[in-house]
């Protein structure tokens, strides 16, 4: 690498625009929000910076801690389900034919190209009372009942009448939606990790007498650990801060922390409190990232090959 002082003009040309961008649109606004979190609301639009911690104190009240906890729990459930669902998918893609692999990856990435709002409303169309799932089930139930009527068991004696399942506006719907949205974030890092994995490790394990299940847990999982950790982090963090999905699919008790933050900034018009909640969420995120870094250092030995 050449010393930057030798080509100062190039250096400044390259460094100034991104720095300007970061400072103007990221660091300054974020700092403002950070300052708000230590301020007091003194009027309808007036905010005074008086370096108090009362916003944070309020944010740590049981009501909000409960919502934090719920967000963590929902995001964790989402991540766990994603991991379990994604592993077979990633394995299937890695072991498919090269031509097929491209199409399968495309299928995983495809939802990225659609707006989240559209995808979520599409999900509502599937899950709502007279949505695809419920009307499909209704069709099956009524036809089964009709078939049973030939042997005198019709008229809802065994099955039916059909009552639509309540699939929307509860926590299950939110987790379902989050899993649907987050799946590519888990599949792709897992795919990358498994693709790097030398097949001869798997063959060696089989050769030494391990079955497929034991090979999976003793060889594949430890060697794919960096990919698993990346997948967990990049699934968990956005899921934890998700706003749209709980807003549209959730019920009255499905509030996640981002919804509370939004309502503080909007309806409640309490920017300082919203700012404090935002930063608590960010601290939690940093904590998760730091935890990952520590864990990865421990596993670092197996990582480098």
């Amino acid at each position: 690498m050449e010393n930057w002082k030798n080509s100062a003009r190039t250096f400044w040309t390259v460094i100034v625009p991104p720095t300007f961008w970061l400072v103007t649109f990221f660091i300054i606004p974020l700092s403002l929000i950070w300052l708000y979190s230590f301020s007091s609301k003194t009027g309808v639009v007036d905010i005074t910076l008086d370096w108090n911690l009362q916003q944070y104190m309020r944010a740590l009240e049981p009501l909000y801690l409960g919502i934090f906890w719920k967000s963590i729990w929902m995001a964790a459930a989402t991540t766990a389900i994603c991991l379990v669902v994604s592993f077979p998918v990633a394995i299937a893609i890695v072991f498919s034919k090269p031509t097929m692999r491209m199409w399968l990856l495309l299928l995983v990435i495809l939802p990225f190209w659609t707006n989240l709002l559209i995808r979520t409303y599409a999900l509502i169309a599937v899950l709502r009372t007279n949505g695809f799932i419920n009307s499909g089930l209704e069709w099956i139930v009524t036809h089964a009942d009709w078939a049973l009527s030939f042997i005198g068991l019709g008229d809802n004696t065994i099955i039916g009448p059909f009552t639509p399942l309540q699939l929307l506006y509860n926590n299950t719907a939110v987790i379902f939606g989050l899993v649907y949205v987050s799946l590519p974030f888990m599949v792709l890092p897992l795919y990358a990790a498994l693709d790097r994995l030398d097949r001869s490790y798997l063959e060696a394990s089989l050769d030494l007498g391990a079955g497929h299940t034991r090979t999976f847990f003793t060889i594949v999982v430890p060697l794919a650990l960096p990919g698993i950790a990346s997948g967990i982090v990049i699934t968990f963090i956005p899921a934890m801060g998700s706003y749209l999905t709980p807003d549209l699919l959730g019920g009255t008790d499905s509030y996640m922390i981002a919804n509370v933050i939004a309502s503080q900034f909007k309806q409640a018009n309490n920017w300082p409190f919203g700012a404090a909640l935002s930063f608590l969420l960010m601290y939690a995120t940093f904590f998760a990232l730091a935890l990952r870094a520590v864990l990865m250092r421990k596993e670092g030995r197996g990582d480098k090959r």
């Binding site: 060696a204 394990s205 050769d207 030494l208 060889i219």
Partner: protein, 362 residues
């Protein structure tokens, strides 16, 4: 030795994508305790054949029998074979000990026995005391020893080795060749090795199968392959050889009458007829100023072309008026440089014994 062969490969074929024949109707037998080599150029199907023994490839047709059992429905983890991979495949997240113990743990051996056998195996490959090391703290040669110990500790009926020495440098490779022969004698396990390196196969194996384009060309001990190759391909693949195109007709009693340009008509031992190749190894050729009088030799006149000096011998190319020059390895028996120096353009009589001449069909 009326014992049944340990490995029987019967009419095995492997077809990829419906048309590519990686292995084409191969039949082989490997005896118990043999050091057997599968030798051939890359893409000849030798590795595919080895992987079929391990169970990683399923034969399209034919039968693989190991130790009297048909392997058709036997998964890799249930076969009495273990493999040393070309990349060694030493698990990077396990210590040397854990690597070697892996197979025994999978067999659910008691921990006392595992400990004892792992230590023995590490001593066998001269890695005693390095059990706690991680693979990334070891050299390529050491990692290979781990792979060997890991496979041998299971006491398989057959040890399969896929190009085990190809990743080592020349010096280490030679040392490992001797080491593998020593190991095989110590443990008495049948070794089947895949290699593209003829010197590796010749120096280590009891018997060698030469493969080309999915077919076995010849199975013979090293000396048999070198001195009496069965085909033009084998003769050309193993060592250096001069090949002169000729035509042969049968002369009865295991003899053929061969007609070749510049050489004329000679009657030689052999069975191949039609278009054949007269073959003679370079070290079996003599050079003289005068035409030899011995009727049991074939002699041609040649002009010295290129000369390559190798210290103990010189590899001399003679132009004998055919398309390809004839090469001779001439021992430098005298220390008088003038005496053995061949100068380009000089004419000599080149001759070799009829008994050393091979008549090879394609």
């Amino acid at each position: 030795m009326s014992e049944a062969p340990l490995i029987q490969i019967k009419n095995v074929s492997k077809v990829y994508g419906g048309s590519v024949k990686a292995v084409d109707d191969v039949s082989l037998e490997v005896q118990r305790g043999e050091f057997f080599a599968l030798l051939g150029p890359s893409g000849c199907g030798k590795t595919t054949l080895l992987r079929m023994l391990a169970g990683f490839e399923i034969p399209t047709a034919g039968q693989v029998i190991i130790d009297g059992h048909d392997m058709a429905k036997v998964q890799p983890n249930k076969r009495p074979v273990n493999m040393v991979f070309q990349s060694y495949a030493v698990f990077p997240h396990m210590s040397v000990e854990q690597n070697v113990a892996y197979g025994l743990k999978m067999d659910r051996r008691p921990s006392g026995e595992i400990k004892k056998r792992v230590a023995e195996a590490l001593d066998l490959v001269k890695l005693g005391g390095l059990g706690k090391r991680m693979p990334d703290e070891m050299s390529g040669g050491q990692r290979q020893r781990v792979a060997l110990a890991r496979a041998l500790v299971k006491r398989p009926s057959v040890l399969l080795l896929d190009e085990p020495l190809s990743a080592l440098d020349a010096k280490l490779r030679e040392a490992m060749q001797l080491e593998l022969v020593r190991l095989q004698k110590t443990v008495g396990i049948t070794f089947v090795i895949v290699t593209h390196d003829q010197s590796e196969a010749l120096s280590m194996a009891n018997r060698i199968a030469v493969m080309n384009q999915g077919k076995v060309q010849q199975v013979a001990p090293p000396t048999g392959l070198y001195e009496t190759p069965a085909s033009r391909f084998v003769a050309d693949f193993i060592g250096k050889i001069n090949l002169i195109d000729a035509t042969a007709v049968s002369a009865g009693e295991g003899q053929v009458k061969v007609t070749a340009p510049k050489i004329g008509e000679v009657t030689l031992k052999g069975t191949a007829v039609g278009p054949v190749a007269l073959a003679v190894r370079p070290e079996k050729i003599f050079v003289d100023d005068h035409k030899p009088t011995d009727p049991n030799v074939i002699a041609v006149k040649g002009k010295v072309g290129e000369v390559a000096y190798f210290g103990s011998y010189s590899n001399v190319f003679f132009d004998i008026g055919l398309g390809a020059p004839l090469q001779a390895d001439i021992s430098n028996v005298s220390s008088d440089v003038e005496e053995f120096t061949f100068k380009a353009g000089e004419e000599y009589w080149i001759y070799w014994r009829k008994a050393d001449t091979l008549v090879l069909g394609d």
